[in-house]
Symmetry: C2
Subunit: 671 residues, 2 copies
């Protein structure tokens, strides 16, 4: 109440059945008694009566509620039950609810602090949400000192109704929010988050610090919010696809946020460094080298020539530009001006050690002018103690961050550049191929026949339905049929027993390679006999007769999928055998994937050169691999019933790909 009464522009009405007056204001018995239209109710009643209050709110038309009260999903089963009920009420009355178990919300634009926190933040253009209320109190206290302001601050609590996706959507349309930052421990609807965040990122940068990356941390997170975090690999993939900037530390989150809230975006990935100090220049160059995004700008000849005039002997006219220890602000300015005119340069870093000839305030003004003149971001690394404090103050007036550590300054520009790249990319648009869904469904329904909902090669037609190439062949259940299928195939064939109950077919002699036409009938009989001898009760579906793949110039790859509780279908790509099993060299994305994302999946694996002729092989047809990934992605998106699926191997060669073997698990209830 005191927080609200402090600065809020609107009316505040206390409600308490036991009082007539509170804080000098008339107090009402319940929401129904209030003679105004209530925009938002802050609920701080005991947990056992929260739902009654919420229901009444619904009845009288109060649509927005902040529930601070704890004692819901984060406690035992009673609390979880209470939270389920709360969700039902919210749905019934179409209520917007923040919390429960949260600190509250703030909006500096209207001076509203509807939290029980000790500090009100400064005004600013950053909106901040957090799954930890304590983290908000720590950040606000710190931010006051650092001069960082906020537009909205939201403590998400248990996210029973409104979650991070809802706020991203809202802030995307909020003209007063220029940057969104989020501390999250879980995301519930991963697919929806990706779509919303990717859309919002076109205009509004989103920086996410997601914790619970490690097992121990995920467990700790679950213990204090009751949320289950899900697999780190899914978040990793999801964030890549959603266009959010992922921060790994609190410092990184605020470095990104500050840069994004005050600086123009770079127009190339190349950065110019101007320094009066050799050593820090080298450190900054290392930090650029460490970045996956930034590159040291290569200057045009004109630039180098122009720089030559202004820089004394002992300096460096190539990047990093060393204007030498005796440089004054003018020499810095000249070098910076020339560098920023170079078409390759998209951003700059000004690095300075304290010297007798440099005044940090003048240097700061010059940096701000140059940034404005060229419309490009310049980070400051005006190093020192008290002296630097003046630079911090001067630069922050222009929205420019100043750092002591060169690598931190580079990190800030890196965040800007990464975001600029996201903006340049088109919104992801998964390809939709023309496929035969009905046929696919029919095949998936076969899983109902078995006991364990698993399908193997007998479901190869599923791939045919989605036009994923498979070797010629079929599953047969008589020697004659085997012969017939083999006759249609050029050359000798591979024959395999097909049974969901026999896992290691080779071990029992259940696989025959290079069977000639004449021997097909005998081979059929032999395979069936071996299988019966080995496991009399096995369900034998037949024998697969398949074209023999010539493995010369072919590489075995794996395309697989499993389902994450938060993000849904994850598609995986890697090279077969040791590369996936021992080297763990795989790439993952949330389906449905776009053409660009499927291309990245192939690029990302370390063994990719093996597909590109590294060992003297003819390069494989990568386009076909990329298309297969997308077709598989479409299949598992179309059928949520597919719980996991592996094409292993998908043989890739110069003439295309072929899916040689298949395993999948189907939840037939979802068909």
């Amino acid at each position: 109440m005191t927080n609200l009464l402090d600065e809020y522009d609107g009316e505040v009405v206390p409600i308490n059945p036991k009082r007539d007056e509170l804080f000098g204001l008339e107090c009402y018995e319940d929401l129904g008694q209030v003679p105004y239209t209530v925009d938002m109710a802050v609920v701080v009643v005991p947990p056992t009566i929260v739902n009654d209050v919420v229901e009444q709110a619904g009845e009288v038309g109060v649509r927005n509620l902040v529930i601070i009260t704890a004692g819901f999903g984060e406690t035992g089963s009673e609390g979880a039950q209470r939270e389920r009920k709360l969700k039902e009420i919210a749905e019934e009355y179409d209520l917007n609810i923040v919390g429960p178990n949260c600190l509250g919300i703030m909006n500096t634009g209207i001076g509203m602090n509807a939290t029980f926190g000790p500090d009100s933040p400064l005004e600013g253009n950053i909106s901040f949400m957090s799954q930890s209320g304590a983290f908000i109190t720590a950040v606000l206290d710190w931010a006051l000192d650092e001069g960082i302001g906020f537009k909205d601050v939201v403590s998400l609590g248990n996210k029973a109704v409104m979650d991070s996706t809802d706020f991203i959507e809202f802030w995307d349309d909020d003209p007063e929010t220029d940057v969104v930052i989020a501390y999250l421990e879980s995301i519930d609807e991963g697919g929806e988050f990706i779509e919303t965040a990717r859309e919002a990122s076109e205009d509004t940068p989103i920086v996410v610090l997601k914790s619970g990356r490690t097992d121990a941390a995920a467990q700790a997170a679950s213990s204090h919010t009751g949320a289950i975090a899900g697999a780190e690999e899914a978040y990793e993939a999801g964030f890549k696809q959603s266009g959010v900037l992922r921060a790994n530390t609190v410092q990184e989150m605020f470095d990104y946020a500050r840069a994004l809230s005050g600086m123009p975006l770079p127009d190339t990935e190349e950065i110019a460094i101007v320094t009066n100090a050799g050593g820090p220049g080298v450190m900054a160059t290392d930090a650029v080298g460490d970045s996956d995004v930034l590159e040291m700008a290569e200057f045009e000849e004109d630039t180098v020539e122009a720089l030559q005039e202004g820089i004394p002997e002992g300096g460096n006219i190539y990047n990093p530009i060393d204007v030498v220890g005796d440089a004054d602000v003018e020499r810095f300015e000249k070098a910076l001006d020339i560098a920023l005119q170079d078409p390759n340069v998209g951003s700059a870093l000004v690095l300075s050690a304290p010297t007798a000839v440099i005044d940090y305030e003048n240097l700061s003004d010059m940096v701000a002018e140059m940034s404005e003149k060229h419309g490009l971001p310049i980070a400051g690394c005006l190093m020192g103690g008290e002296r630097a404090q003046k630079a911090n103050d001067a630069l922050s007036e222009y929205g420019i961050p100043n750092y002591f550590d060169p690598s931190q300054a580079v990190k800030a520009i890196e965040g800007l550049t990464e975001y600029a790249n996201t903006r340049k990319e088109e919104i992801r648009e998964p390809t939709e191929y023309d496929v035969d869904r009905d046929r696919a469904r029919e095949i998936l329904e076969r899983a109902e026949e078995g006991e364990d909902n698993r399908l193997g090669v007998e479901a190869m037609e599923l791939l045919d339905a989605y036009d994923i190439p498979t070797p010629q062949g079929d599953i047969v259940d008589s020697p004659d049929e085997a012969h017939e299928v083999a006759a249609a195939i050029d050359g000798p064939v591979v024959m395999k027993i097909v049974s969901p109950d026999i896992l290691h077919k080779s071990d029992i002699g259940g696989v025959k390679v290079g069977v000639e036409q004449a021997d097909v009938r005998d081979a059929y009989e032999d395979l069936i006999t071996r299988a019966r001898n080995y496991q009399p009760d096995a369900n034998i579906l037949g024998v697969q007769v398949q074209e023999m793949i010539d493995l010369d110039d072919q590489t075995e790859t794996i395309v697989g999928m499993n389902r994450d509780p938060q993000f849904g279908p994850l598609v995986m790509f890697g090279l077969g055998g040791i590369f996936v099993e021992v080297m763990e060299d795989t790439s993952i994305r949330v389906a449905p994937v776009s053409d660009k994302e499927a291309t990245e999946m192939v690029d990302e694996i370390q063994a990719a050169p093996l597909l590109r002729g590294a060992r003297g092989q003819t390069p494989a047809d990568e386009d076909e691999i990329i298309e297969t990934i997308q077709r598989l992605s479409q299949l598992v998106t179309d059928f949520p019933a597919i719980l996991e699926l592996d094409i292993n191997p998908l043989v890739a060669g110069p003439d295309g790909v072929e899916a040689v073997d298949l395993r999948l698990t189907v939840d037939t209830d979802q068909l």
Copy 2:
């Protein structure tokens, strides 16, 4: 002069031939005229007369000089010539020289500031050297503000005479120096650095920020100091072996330095986290998960039971311990005290968000008491703004760092733990095997016969001399001899043409596999004929007749070596073929390597599971691989003439290893 006159305890004497008096002191014409014993001379004369001054110093017995003057190796060839001359003079008179081209040196113990920098540092127990003078001025200005003090500060300049190794040696024996920090761009004598730093690390932690890691940065470094940095992989290996803590950023360097200068060392790698804030607790747990060194402590049952009593519902009694938002200092203390009694716990982190019930000064005092009581390090992450400033001040009085970012606090404890591990390890002691050096020398001398100083399989005896197993066989130069060698071998043999001029032997049919006894003579003739036809002018050394290695259950590995200009012989290990070539999965150490280092080399490669039976193979004899690495390390250490050498493949199986092929380059002048 003013810096020296300011605080220096001793006598300062100006020398200048043009003046009688300077700064109110009697001025002498040259060093020879000074009527005192001069401990140290600071040289700030024009570059052209520096060497004359230094020579005179040598003549009159002044043994310690700091040369601030620039214009040496960092400029053109004239400067380089001048620096060479300076080194000669130093050697002649046995002089200790810092610089040239440096800021000078400081010693706060005696109030000596012999630099031209603007600030004198606070007193402290950290000694700091830097290859960048500008970085020193920036750090000192900043450190004044941060309350960080130093014992000695040394600007290394061009390191013409004294380098980082000399100062490490000195500070190791200096009772006033507890921590050494260094900003380096190059290390000249890598082997010496490793030995000295490893020895010093037993008592004195050394933190190194080495820049020029990336190509662009190395080039920039070379442009401002004239030094050539050498390969990053050599530094990486060298630092691992030297026991230094490598910092990647300025912040990391000072985080490590502060922790090491004021806190006790942890006695295990397990850390306990005590927090009143769920979210930050999860972040810290992630940071521990990211660490290669730290682990989240697993508590004993007693600990968990004891914690249960003090922590209310909704908290967490497992690590991270959540004492809940309403915790007062007493509850924090109880939890911390219990956790630190657990034998698994070697360090702790106290994390707090600002709350109404927590006073940061009291909390700080408690943290300091607990650290003292248990003799274990506790980092503080008392989050907030102004409030936290008080905690910073209170904790820093006890030498305890406080951070806003939980991951930074974890990093500090990580540095301490890494150093504690280094101290626990024995000093590296490369194994010395009993080998036949004379025989090895004889074989290496054969390289003189060829034109390109290369040797191949014809030098396999070199490996025999160092007891590295090779397959049975020999090089022969007649059909009869071939037959004789083959007869002594069980089963068919492999035969290969031996010629330094024919690189791709298989392509011309110069390799025959599985030759039966009866066919050996014909095979010999055929190989010679093919070689002559293919390349009539090739120098044919004969035909190698070798035992056929059964590759079942064998893995091809590579043990190689090349020579780094700074660190000398680098030994490399990896798995053959794609693993080294495509996956770049190798491990590197500076020779001579110890048993422990060779073991680490095998452990470090990602493909190591393949040697351990990952794909159903019988595991290879790893001890034999480790011994081979050490024997090779001894060989290349014994013979600096070996410039590069590759055993590829070294076939490793359950029964040991065999070196199947060999290539090396010899600098015969060094034999």
